[in-house]
């Protein structure tokens, strides 16, 4: 992250003289795009680390099938956190209403299935993503004209409005009782979703893999580099000619789409949807997951969501208050002593240790 920040702050002053902005195709039309293009191969070079998560999923599937339903839940949360990281981590938009998109995806799948009998999982997943993405475009057009505290309040209030609306139309959404009996048809017409949850796990892993690769490529692209430039210094990016609003709208919509897919996946894996998919607790929770690990890092969402879900799984069994208390204390400590999250803090410590060892 420090590397990226350094690039985005130094590049605008040096590059415009060498590369005409109009010559750069693709998402990023600003001069920054050209500079980051040169680094892109490095940014996406894969190493053994990139195999770890998928190996873990395979091991859970093979050796610990009893945990398959829980593992699938974790993958849903990872995808949700990954979508938030695009807006919060890379573009620096602090939103407290991201659950709106998660809930839209979940209810789209649920209502298509229960009311219209649309059970084919992949098209339903796409529909969930499309609805959330479309709402993302529309709400982004309106809300992204604001920033800072007003934007935070608007995201909070609009998502609360959506929750009230879902509660009001309980004939469609099932209200507080939730929408149950979601029964996706077999994948590709052959592989059925079963009670063991093993199909769900593989399905969720496949969806996550596709989205993860997409996000990695997007964030390593000139477009992603430009977003981080906007996050770190919006005025400078405006000054060098970056269409800031267009970039923010694009990333907000993509993020909404991915959050919708994660919500859709949630509905299919759980077979039910309740109002809490739209709640403030869900918006706040996903932000917490991301922030405990660290923002705008390739494995921030995976680390944060996994830690959060696993610890919650065990502590909440002891007592829900125990979990809430522990999480609260952990958040306070992280903000006070490990600002930026656990991963960057650990890296700093390791770097300091190894620096000392060499001396």
């Amino acid at each position: 992250m420090t590397e990226q920040a350094a690039v985005s702050t130094t590049v605008p002053t040096t590059v415009p003289t060498t590369v005409p902005a109009a010559a750069v195709p693709g998402f990023g039309k600003g001069p920054l795009a050209a500079a980051s293009r040169a680094q892109r191969p490095g940014a996406l070079r894969l190493g053994p680390v990139d195999l770890i998560p998928w190996t873990v999923i395979a091991l859970v599937y093979l050796l610990w099938p009893g945990q398959a339903p829980f593992a699938a839940q974790v993958l849903v949360l990872i995808l949700f956190a990954l979508s938030l990281d695009l807006v919060l981590g890379h573009a620096g938009i602090v939103t407290l209403g991201h659950a709106a998109f998660f809930g839209l995806g979940a209810y789209t799948v649920g209502m298509l299935n229960v009311h219209l009998g649309w059970r084919e999982p992949l098209t339903a997943l796409a529909a969930g993503g499309a609805v959330a993405g479309a709402v993302g475009v529309l709400s982004g057009l309106l809300l992204l004209r604001y920033s800072g505290l007003p934007l935070l309040m608007l995201t909070l209030a609009t998502s609360a409005m959506l929750l009230e609306l879902a509660n009001y139309r309980s004939d469609l959404t099932g209200g507080f009782d939730g929408l149950s009996g979601i029964d996706p048809a077999p994948l590709f017409g052959t592989v059925a979703f079963d009670f063991s949850g093993k199909t769900q796990l593989l399905y969720a892993a496949a969806v996550l893999l596709v989205c993860f690769v997409f996000v990695r490529r997007l964030t390593a692209s000139p477009f992603g580099q430009t977003l981080r430039g906007i996050r770190d210094n919006r005025r400078r990016m405006e000054a060098v000619g970056t269409p800031v609003f267009g970039h923010l709208l694009a990333v907000y919509s993509v993020s909404a789409l991915l959050a919708g897919i994660s919500g859709a996946l949630f509905a299919q894996v759980n077979a039910y949807v309740t109002l809490d998919v739209l709640s403030f607790e869900r918006s706040g929770g996903v932000m917490v997951m991301l922030a405990i690990a660290g923002l705008a890092r390739p494995y921030g969402a995976m680390t944060g969501a996994t830690l959060y879900a696993v610890i919650e799984h065990y502590l909440a069994n002891v007592s829900p208050e125990f979990w809430e208390f522990g999480l609260g204390v952990a958040l306070i400590l992280i903000v006070l002593f490990a600002r930026g999250g656990l991963l960057p803090t650990i890296e700093r410590q390791v770097a300091r240790r190894s620096g000392r060892a060499r001396q």
């Binding site: 209030a157 609360a160 009001y168 006070l336």
Partner: protein, 293 residues
């Protein structure tokens, strides 16, 4: 009097009492947020502490209700001082995300602590005789308690307005809200001022929480449940403005109450709708005092 006017007046009184509770809690948040620039999602937690303290002090310790309210305020002020010193002060200059995470953390700790101490269910309070029953005002039968809450809310609004606009400490607070560096350079001890103001803001929250019990009830999640209301009132009113908080609490409290009366299924939909429109029109609030640096 016609029955329609009668109904409207009843709704107006109910809405006013509700608005006054929201105002007393939000006024504290408005001053602290305006002054310190911290997005404090844990303000409602202090209101919940105040609600529980009031219930406990009246039911277990047998204290009279007004005294219990004041003690609840004092308790919150005492708790607020270390919270400000060791949690909020280090993050004043940090970004919004740090504020949000820190105050969510504090909220969760309070929720867990209240659940441990008093159980997960919601609590109500028994009112003394002189605050029970009904009274007739303008030809409408109004519960005495609600009339009293309206009076107390108005008194608080007047007192706060006088305190902030007419006293020296109020002038110092306004100076620190407008420009912290400038205030420091003319010799105001801003750190100490922040401590005092934060404690007073939390005391207001606790008193508001105590007043709210007989209208809204209080549970461990009270703070999170009404969080959006407090924040919306503060931001719509303009951070740091008591006048603004009063006006927006009135609009939102009375408006939501009317919405719930005429279309009960829609719940808080109206409140959020009003809030979104107001925020879109005036993102920095209607009575903004602080000039954004």
């Amino acid at each position: 009097m016609t029955s329609a006017a009668h109904v409207l007046l009843t709704i107006a009184f109910d809405g006013l009492a509700y608005a006054m509770v929201l105002f007393v809690i939000s006024a504290g948040l408005s001053v602290t947020m305006g002054m310190m620039g911290v997005i404090n999602l844990a303000h409602g937690a202090f209101a919940a502490i105040g609600g529980y303290a009031t219930v406990w002090l009246t039911a277990q310790a047998g204290l009279p209700f007004p005294l219990a309210l004041l003690l609840a305020g004092a308790l919150a002020a005492v708790l607020a001082v270390p919270a400000e010193r060791w949690c909020y002060r280090p993050v004043y200059k940090a970004d919004h995300l740090a504020h949000v995470l820190l105050s969510i953390g504090i909220s969760l700790v309070v929720v867990a602590a209240l659940t441990w101490l008093f159980g997960p269910s919601s609590h109500t309070i028994r009112m003394p005789d002189y605050l029970s029953g009904n009274v007739e005002l303008l030809g409408v039968v109004v519960p005495v308690y609600r009339a009293a809450v309206i009076a107390v809310g108005l008194a608080f609004a007047l007192a706060l307005w006088l305190a902030i606009d007419k006293t020296t400490i109020g002038a110092r607070i306004r100076a620190a809200v407008d420009n912290r560096d400038m205030a420091e350079s003319v010799g105001i001890d801003v750190d100490r001022l922040f401590s005092i103001t934060f404690a007073l803001g939390c005391a207001l929250a606790a008193i508001g929480g105590g007043l709210a019990v007989n209208i809204l009830g209080v549970g461990p999640r009270f703070g999170l449940q009404y969080l959006v209301y407090f924040l919306v009132i503060v931001v719509v009113g303009g951070m740091g403005s008591v006048k603004g908080a009063f006006a927006s609490a009135l609009v939102i409290g009375v408006g939501e109450n009317a919405g719930r009366y005429f279309l009960p299924q829609a719940g808080a939909f109206f409140m959020y709708g009003i809030a979104v429109v107001l925020l879109l029109v005036r993102p920095n609030g209607f009575f903004t005092r602080a000039s954004t640096p």
